[in-house]
């Protein structure tokens, strides 16, 4: 199978899965016993108001027509109207989504980092006390409720020590209005701004390099030149476009992810602020998820560290850290990537609880809020978005895997 035919078949397979998912959510909300409109009104006996809501939400139609409306609406990006005030659900979800996305990315990075480092250390000290301690940590992460860990961290670092904020995403005054970010000129001049702007370019450069290392294992002049060109392009664009927006005074293109936005603006103060608010929620979620990666890395490394090429690398006098992280760990890269895709759903489930714990205004908290308001159309919309998000991420991970692992194309 060539890469192209794999990509096409994988994308085609996603379609029925998403469709089943949409149908499932529809069935849960509309077909399961319990009429959403009656549930919404609970005990209020006002048939007129109930009829009015049915009519405005299109819930008075036969069930197949409702299903048709629902699917067609989804294709147009319409998730229905909220039962609360008939405002479009899609808009509310659109503004809550970046917060969840940001939290998920940071949590995943933390989980993978903690998992890999502790897994490598455990496999190096196989059956020694360190190994047992790390394994116990791994098992406890399977058994701890994520919101309990969150509250413990909150209690220690926010309530007792006052090191980090208890919850929320940023200072109320730093909250951007919609997707327009007011930009104030930084306390430094263009020269410093120019230097700071190199950071995103360097990140992209590093990613290019990393992918090349994993896939081709050696650098050709062409690859180096292309990566350098990408670095320069991003750097120049960032520096001048960024300065342009600062001089205008507002940035109209924002990701809604505060850390990313602060990098876009090259605003260090804001970045530190956003990271401070980010730290506890992402650490909570990352710690709970790290056990899976720990276990995977440990079992993978345990085998790899006893292979000949590792012994050969040691015999050549390479540093132990180079041998483990540079040589042996590379074998574990693809399983870890797969696991990242598989664990993403778990992560989003945990994100709902973490967001509730830390008052993090993302999709998870939106869902919980709507449950409290008995706003079933909004609940349905949020769940659909969760499902589609997972489907897209697993598609991307699978495609990335196919790209990086030549075996899958054979």
């Amino acid at each position: 199978m060539t890469l192209r035919s794999y990509v096409i078949s994988r994308i085609l397979l996603t379609i029925p899965m998403v469709f089943i998912l949409l149908t499932m959510v529809f069935a849960i909300i509309r077909v399961l016993p319990g009429d959403p409109v009656l549930l919404h009104f609970e005990k209020v006996e006002n048939p007129q108001a109930i009829e009015e809501m049915r009519r405005r939400l299109g819930l008075d139609k036969p069930i197949w027509a409702q299903y048709f409306d629902y699917v067609v609406g989804l294709f147009r990006g319409d998730l229905g109207k909220s039962m609360q005030d008939y405002s479009p659900v899609a808009e509310q979800i659109f503004s809550a989504f970046p917060a969840t996305f940001e939290l998920a990315i940071f949590a995943m990075i933390i989980a993978v980092l903690i998992g890999i480092i502790s897994g490598v250390e455990a496999s190096k000290a196989y059956n020694k006390p360190q190994d047992h301690v790390i394994r116990v940590f791994g098992i406890v992460t399977y058994a701890i409720p994520v919101f309990f860990l969150g509250m413990i961290l909150q209690m220690i670092f926010a309530v007792q020590l006052h090191w980090l904020p208890v919850g929320g995403r940023t200072y109320p005054t730093m909250e951007p209005a919609g997707l327009v970010i007011p930009l104030s000129p930084p306390p430094w001049g263009f020269a410093t701004h120019f230097l700071l702007s190199s950071i995103p370019g360097l990140v992209i450069f590093a990613i290019c390099f990393g992918v090349t290392r994993v896939r081709h294992r050696r650098f050709t002049r062409k690859i180096v030149l292309v990566s350098l060109a990408a670095l320069l392009f991003v750097w120049i664009l960032w520096a001048f476009a960024g300065w342009h927006y600062i001089s205008i005074g507002e940035l109209r293109i924002a990701t809604g992810m505060y850390t990313a936005d602060s990098i876009l603006e090259a605003n260090l103060v804001k970045f530190v602020q956003a990271s401070r608010y980010m730290l506890l929620p992402s650490l909570t979620l990352g710690l709970v998820l790290s056990g899976v990666f720990l276990r995977l890395t440990r079992s993978n490394m345990f085998e790899t560290l006893r292979l000949d090429f590792v012994t050969a690398a040691r015999a050549r006098g390479l540093r132990e850290s180079t041998v483990t992280y540079g040589y042996a760990l590379r074998n574990a890269f693809l399983p870890i990537l797969t696991m990242m895709g598989l664990q993403f759903a778990t992560l989003l489930g945990g994100a709902v609880l973490t967001e509730t714990t830390f008052s993090w205004p993302g999709l998870g908290r939106y869902l919980v809020d709507r449950i409290n308001f008995r706003d079933y159309t909004a609940i349905q919309g949020a769940i659909v978005v969760f499902g589609i998000f997972v489907a897209i991420v697993s598609l991307v991970v699978d495609l990335l895997y196919a790209y990086l692992d030549p075996r899958i194309r054979l």
Binding site: P16, M17, I20, L21, M24, V25, I28, I29, L32, P33, G34, P36, L39, I139, V140, Y142, A143, I144, P145, V146, F147, F148, M151, I152, Q154, M155, V159, Q160, V166, F302, A345, T346, L348, G349, G350, V352, L353, T356, T357, L367, V368, I371, N372, Y376, I379, Q380, I383, F386, G387, V390, A391, S394
Partner: protein
């Protein structure tokens, strides 16, 4: 897997004696430790009316948020209820929900997995696609959706949790059956003219049984954590029964006042219970899956 096993030996493969467990190295000790934890929690909950120092639901208006002291060893909550008594009797809902959901999963997942993998063809493909879609969905979010529609209560919680975990059972059983189906002794039985349900129940099920036990044990821990999560969201049991999940949720409001005891102890109890099942699952899967032994 040399010959079809009888029901009796089927049980003895998964319920070895304690003495034999201690000789199986780490895996055996994990099972023993897990079993001790689980039994301890179950006993404590069952005996709670006799061993609690106070009535867990008695409200003492004058004694809100007392820190741990001699009369209240684990302190009191915001309504002055004794935390120690609430901890002792607070496991009943978690246990009921998890046991019920595991039973529902077994009733739905096992026959479905057996049937689908044995039938093969389009039926199998369809079931797989549906199960994979459910499996790919964030479990807690799905459980939240179902629980939000069904309403609160032990049975509804158990049902919404069960729906989420049926695919795990289905997948494990299906993959096991697919490999066992190819074994020569099954082919031999087929050639000898055994009927389908005989092959399934007498030849395949006994060999799948250990995996079912492992999945169910691990699933207990997941069910407990999901139940705690649902309670935290506000979809738990609302009637006034002491419950660790409820106490944790309640304690969230009280965090700012620095009353750490309201959340710490119920949280530790949930961890201990889930940990017990996780350890048992770890040990069992190591014992019953010789492939993984190093």
């Amino acid at each position: 897997m040399q010959k079809p096993e009888t029901k009796r030996s089927m049980l003895s493969t998964v319920v070895p004696s304690i003495r034999s467990l201690t000789k199986r190295g780490l895996a055996g000790w994990l099972i023993i430790l897990g079993a001790i934890l689980v039994t301890g929690v179950v006993l404590m909950t069952a005996l709670s009316p006799w061993i609690s120092p106070h009535n867990p639901s008695t409200i003492n208006i004058g004694l809100p948020l007392q820190s741990p002291s001699d009369s209240f060893p684990l302190g009191t909550d915001d309504l002055g209820r004794d935390m120690l008594s609430r901890i002792i009797s607070g496991g009943s809902i978690m246990l009921q929900v998890s046991i019920l959901s595991v039973i529902v999963c077994l009733i739905i997942g096992v026959p479905l997995g057996l049937f689908s993998s044995y039938a093969g063809g389009v039926i199998d493909k369809t079931f797989c696609l549906i199960m994979d879609s459910v499996y790919a969905f964030p479990g807690l979010v799905l459980a939240i959706a179902i629980a939000a529609m069904l309403g609160t209560g032990v049975v509804n919680m158990a049902l919404s949790i069960a729906v989420v975990y049926v695919p795990s059972y289905f997948r494990v059983i299906r993959s096991q059956v697919l490999s066992i189906k190819e074994m020569s002794y099954v082919e031999a039985a087929n050639a000898a003219g055994a009927r389908n349900h005989t092959i399934l129940s007498q030849y395949i099920l006994p060999n799948v049984f250990p995996s079912i036990v492992v999945v169910a044990t691990v699933n207990f821990a997941d069910a407990i954590l999901t139940a705690a999560g649902l309670t935290f969201i506000g979809l738990g049991v609302t009637i006034d029964i002491p419950d660790w999940g409820y106490d944790l949720t309640n304690g969230r409001r009280l965090l700012a006042s620095g009353s750490w005891w309201v959340i710490t102890f119920p949280g530790i109890m949930i961890i201990l219970l889930a940990l017990g099942f996780t350890l048992m699952g770890e040990g069992l899967s190591e014992l019953l899956n010789p492939r993984l032994e190093q």
